[in-house]
Structure formats: C-alpha cells, structure tokens
C-alpha cells in the first residue's frame, strides 16, 4: 500500500466566487527510485472551522474575501519576491495576480518530487473526468535547457462549459520523492480570471518518507458561479490561469502553471 491522504484543505474565495478546475499538472521534474510505503493515513483538512464535518457549508469552510489583506497577509508582488532568496507560503498568499514568470527554477526541486499520476473526478457522481500518468523520470543524463524545463511546468486545459457546473471535484495526485525525507509538504494553488484572484487553495501533504511513492486526494469545493461570470470565463478562453506553489519546510521548491478554457466543444 502507499501512503494516502484525503484532504479538503483550506480555501478562500470572494462571495461571488468563480469556479475553478481542480488540481494542476504533473511536474516533469525527475524523481528517484520508487518504494511503496506501507502506512495509510486519512486526513481531512477544512476551512476556517475545522475539518471534521463531512460536508461543511460554504460559509463555514471558505474564508471570506479573496483579498489577502483581509486575512492579515501582507500584499506582495512578483517583483519583490524575485529579489528574495527564499519564498515562503506567506509570500505567495500575498500575490494579487498571476505571476508572469516562475518564482523558482527547476533546479530548486532538490527533493526530486516527481508527479507520476493525476486524476480529477466529480465527487457527486464519482465520474472520472481526466486521468494522466507519467513514468518516473530515471534518465537525468541529458540535462534539458531551462527553457524546456520551464515549458514542462506548464499545462493547458480545454474544459467544456459543463465543468463550470460542478460543485465538488476531487484531485488525486501521485508522486514520488527522492532520497531525502520531506516534511511539511504543502501546496498553495491560486486561480485567477483576468489577473483577478478567484480562489486560493491550500493543501498539506504532510510528511513523506524518502524514496517513497505517495498518493493524496484533494477536494476542491466550488461555490455556485454567477451566470455572468461563467459567461465571461467561457467567452475568454485561457484568461483563467493558475499558479501552483509547492513548499517543503515553508520554502518554495516548485512552481507550476496552468491555464484553462471553458469553451471546449463549442
């Protein structure tokens, strides 16, 4: 068996929140050898109220307001963060728009975290919407140029308008880690529409053993979207974008990006 967790994480969005697709993209960063961990843990994270209720109401599980200043986080900018030697979760929580470039290089993934599988499903029906796998990268002899490795950190999704009607989406991530143990592995994912923050998700993976393969499902809960907002998102494909920041011990080690269209099939 492999280590697994199910997390609802923390999320914050405005009252007129916009629906966002779940999860992000498997990274192309290399992983180490694979051994499976025999322990299994189920963790449920929650919003502001805690994490025990199976179906907390949106008002309870979602922090009000998307402005980071409302929750005591100082506003930051991409330019400021580029000057920092290390970037922390608090730093990215202060970002007000999508970053134009990556906040860390591919080489900063010193823990060799490698995403090998990604799956999203509709929690209400159990329908699997998308599943993708990637064999673990074992060949590191050919070092790719940074520009190619940056391209490997970006994915593009073409959803249909039907996706915007979903309320709860589970994103399962399978990943391997290198020879070093990983403590406080955490992902903060921020979604924007036209550079306006729509929703910020905060998930903790917890501890990962060295040379292990781990699976974790994060549940994204989306409040209903206004018809006008959905229309705008559909009419302007790829103007919905996301940044996924991964931290180990409160330091940024990976940064992935994605953008989304909701006009697929039209």
């Amino acid at each position: 068996m492999s280590y697994s967790c199910t997390s609802r994480g923390n999320s914050q969005d405005p009252s007129s929140a916009k629906k966002k697709p779940a999860g992000n993209n498997p990274s192309r960063d290399a992983g180490g050898g694979i051994q499976t961990n025999s322990s299994a843990t189920t963790v449920t994270g929650g919003g502001s109220q805690g994490n025990k209720e199976p179906n907390p109401t949106p008002a309870m599980k979602v922090k009000k307001g998307c402005n980071s200043a409302d929750v005591g986080v100082p506003v930051t900018s991409e330019e400021e963060l580029h000057a920092n030697t290390t970037i922390t979760p608090v730093d990215v929580l202060g970002l007000q728009k999508i970053t134009k470039s990556y906040l860390c290089g591919p080489d900063e993934n010193v823990y060799n975290i490698d995403f090998t599988r990604f799956k999203i499903r509709d929690m209400e029906t159990g329908t699997v919407l998308f599943e993708i796998t990637k064999p673990p990268s074992t060949d590191r002899a050919g070092q790719k140029k940074d520009v190619d490795r940056d391209a490997g950190r970006f994915v593009r999704y073409q959803f249909t308008p039907a996706f915007l009607r979903l309320r709860q989406v589970g994103a399962t991530v399978e990943f391997t880690v290198g020879d070093m143990p990983i403590d406080n592995f955490r992902m903060i994912e921020r979604h924007y529409f036209r550079e306006k923050l729509l929703k910020s998700f905060d998930f903790e993976f917890g501890f990962c053993m060295p040379s292990s393969k781990n699976t974790c499902e994060h549940i994204y809960e989306f409040p209903p979207l206004s018809e006008e907002l959905m229309r705008e998102m559909i009419l302007h494909p790829y103007e919905t974008q996301s940044d996924s920041f991964y931290f180990v011990d409160h330091k940024l080690v990976m940064h992935n990006k994605a953008d989304y269209s909701y006009s697929g099939g039209q």
């Binding site: 190619d148 994915v155 593009r156 249909t160």
Partner: protein, 211 residues
C-alpha cells in the same frame, strides 16, 4: 451542457486507445524494473492520458507541445504546413467539422504570414546583394505573437513560455551576430576600403577647387 443548461450534442468520446493513437510515436522504452506494467508506447511529451471525459474536458496539452507547435508554425511553408487544427500533440475530441475549420484557417494564416515578411536588403558588395539573416528567435517570436490569429485554434501562448523563449532567442541572436561578423568580415573590409577611397577623392577634389 452549455451555459443555458441545454444539453450539448454528443461528441465522440476519445477512448484511451484512440487518445494514445493520436500521439506522436515515441521510441519504445524498455520496461523499468519498478514499473512492471506495459511500456508506454505513445506519449504526449512524456505523459500518457489514461482517461478523458469529453463531456467535461476536450483538450489537454503541455507547454512543450505548445512551443513545438509554435516552432512548426514559424518554420513550415503553406504547402508543407502541419495544420494545428489536427496536431496530434493537442489532444482534443472535437468533431471533424471543427478540425476542417481549423485546417482552412491555418492555411489562410500561413499564407498571410509569408506575404508580410520582407527582409530588408543590404547594400551591394562584390556585385551580390545580401539579406539580413533572420535569427531563429525572430521567426519564433513572430509566430508566438500571432495571438489573435491563433486564438481560435489553441489560444495565445502564455507569457511564461514566451519569456522563456525570448531568453533563448536572445542567445540565438547573439550567435547569429557572431556568425554574420565572421562571414561578412571580407565584405566589411571592402566597404571600409571603398569608403576611405571615396573620402580621399573627395578631399582631393576639394583641394583642387580651392587652388
């Protein structure tokens, strides 16, 4: 289902086998000891799409594939164009009509592109006119900035990819300049020699007129 709640027409669902078949063929990889399952034969830049429900998701691609498409776009001729509408590297389940539209649109865009490019000429030396050699970054960036024309196909490239390519293009520009200076040193010297003689002749004429 569209935004009005009306159910959409059913679109052909791309099964996992069909999805794999549309990917570009990679060299067969040997089995890995830690992954005893069948080797992955067809991948999308290293990924394998196992399932895609076309009721919710009709397309997925990576940044690498987007850049490759952009490079193909910038280097291909209208006759040899690989048409983005049917590019296998962007997995899509849209119907044949949409693909045909993409093909037609792609051809028009390529033709317009080739007409608009006019490299400037360089003064004649040794009886042969020369053209400025465009750097590979120029053509790539030109294709990357055709956001509006390609929006209907795969959307504009994200800024993070363009920035990365711009950095690469700068280094390529530098290399091109080096090559140009090496190749054209003789021509430059000839021009300089001729310029010096013109200057001397001018001075001689001036001195004659004065005397």
């Amino acid at each position: 289902m569209d935004i009005g709640g009306v159910s959409r027409k059913s679109v052909p669902i791309l099964s996992a086998e069909e999805a794999i078949a549309t990917f570009k063929q990679d060299v067969d990889r040997p089995r890995c000891a830690s992954t005893p399952c069948s080797p992955i034969k067809s991948t999308l830049a290293g990924y394998q799409i196992v399932h895609m429900d076309s009721n919710y998701l009709v397309g997925f691609t990576t940044g690498e594939e987007l850049l490759k498409m952009a490079q193909q776009w910038s280097t291909s001729t209208p006759e040899q164009s690989s048409l983005p509408g049917v590019s296998p590297s962007f997995v899509t389940t849209t119907g044949p009509k949409a693909n045909d539209l993409g093909i037609h649109r792609g051809s028009r865009i390529l033709k317009a592109k080739s007409r608009s490019y006019q490299p400037y000429g360089v003064p004649v030396a040794n009886g042969q006119s020369r053209r400025r050699m465009p750097s590979s970054g120029d053509t790539l960036l030109r294709s990357l900035t055709h956001g509006e024309s390609r929006k209907g196909l795969h959307g504009p490239l994200p800024l993070c990819l363009i920035k990365g390519n711009r950095a690469q293009a700068k280094s390529l520009d530098y290399l091109n300049l080096d090559k140009m200076s090496i190749r054209e040193s003789t021509d430059t010297e000839v021009l300089q020699y001729q310029l010096q003689h013109l200057t001397l002749r001018g001075e001689c004429l001036f001195s004659r007129n004065q005397t």
